[in-house]
Amino acid sequence: MLNNSQILFTITAIIIFLTLLCIIIVIFVIKSRNKIHSKELEKKDLKIQYQTETLQKIILAQETERRRIARDLHDDISSKLIAISLNLHLLKSKKTENINKENIINNTIDINSKTIESSRQIAHHLHPPVLEKFGLMDALKELVLDFNNTKVVNIQLNFELVFSKEVTNIHLQIFRIIQELINNSIKHGKATAIDIIFLSKNSISTCVYSDNGVGFDSLQLDKTKGLGFSNIENRIQNINGTFNLISEINKGFKFNFTFHE
């Protein structure tokens, strides 16, 4: 038979045990909640950091572009206009002999037409008018032709799919990506040949891009990633595409990206 004090002791022990258990459970719950919370915070911090970095890159890219436009305007437009102005003053001067005037006029006409061509090129580079009027395919063909005409590079462009004539944001982004890729191939890769193919497989559209340039170690991409490449990356993200890059030193550069037309 158990006596009263024994029963009292057992009950007390059970109560203490249950209380302790409760406390442990509560502490555990609070701790795990905190853990989840801090992980979420960490995630958010990472996201914010990424967004800040992207924003900085966008601002930097914008400044680089502005500098490029300023340089183009200075080198290709204002210096030619100054030359035209100097020539006109020369023509106006009574001391200029008539025999020379013919030469000066021809020279001025020549500089003037070069200025017109330069301003066309600058405007074209800023926003290609063909894109809006004739669609992505014609715009890309013209872009490639412009590059091929410089004789610096030979670009092959092939379409195994058809883009709609109506221009969408995706078309504009694809145009910019190709423009940037070609610029990178020539400037950094010193490529002399570039291959661009657009194809469609199982309703996924892909662009396959490759060049014969000096290439780089693609494992080191994060370290060497320049503004141009972040730009490309952002644009692919913007059109919900994915990309794949292979490059080795002295083995050229290969780049695929997908998009949904």
């Binding site: 030619k80 030359a83 100097l86 020369l90 001067s93 000066i104």
Partner: protein, 219 residues
């Protein structure tokens, strides 16, 4: 009369050709050499027997820009008369050239009259700047407290200095102060020595920085 020898230092071919053609309108001017960057011009000067009378030099150039080139040449050839060619009519650029020793400036989109006036004034007075540029240098530097002992220059020297800053020739200064042009030259040489200036532009910059001359207030 000997021709005025001129050297053009400008990286853009079209502009160089245009300015050369305008200079050649005046029969007593002669463009003897052309360079497209500062370094090539420095090499030329280091190897030449006789300095050109006038140099027209672009501010923005590859390799060695106009400001660097002028600074470099002024240490060895303070008597060289460099006129800055400026693409942008930016006062900062021009004032910078003035402070390193350029004796004048011309916008690239210049006119024949402007070229002739500037070159002739430089030949006559040693420098030529319009008042807006001089007052810009003044405004840029007026925060500096004068470190200069006012008694160091005689009152006559201060008078001559002010008139030099007003771009008066030795003859004009002589007439104003009732002294001979040769005395004026003597004062000018003393000023150069006392202020440790390399050329007349150095004197002007000195006068502005030490509040001995207040431009634009008198215009």
């Amino acid at each position: 009369m000997n021709k005025v020898t001129i050297v053009l230092v400008e990286d853009e071919f079209l502009i160089r050709e245009g300015i050369k053609a305008l200079i050649n309108l005046e029969s007593y001017f002669e463009v003897i050499e052309e360079f497209s960057d500062g370094q090539a011009f420095v090499d030329f000067i280091n190897n030449s027997q006789k300095l050109p009378d006038i140099v027209l030099m672009d501010i923005k150039m590859p390799n060695l820009n106009g400001i660097e080139t002028t600074k470099l040449l002024m240490t060895q050839y303070p008597e060289l008369k460099i006129i800055a060619l400026s693409n942008y009519n930016s006062k900062t650029f021009i004032a910078n050239m003035l402070e390193v020793g350029a004796v004048g400036y011309l916008p690239k989109s210049t006119t024949p009259t402007e070229i002739f006036t500037t070159i002739n004034k430089v030949l006559e007075n040693g420098f030529y700047y319009d008042e807006t540029i001089i007052s810009f240098v003044y405004n840029n530097n007026k925060v500096n407290k004068s470190f200069f002992d006012n008694d160091y220059l005689s009152s006559r020297e201060k008078e001559v200095l002010t008139l030099i800053c007003k771009q008066k020739s030795a003859t004009e200064i002589g007439e104003t102060l009732h002294i001979s042009p040769r005395t004026v030259d003597g004062h000018r040489n003393n000023l150069l020595l006392k202020t440790e200036s390399k050329n007349v532009v150095g004197l002007v910059v000195f006068a502005i920085k030490n509040n001995l001359f207040f431009p634009s207030l008198e215009i």
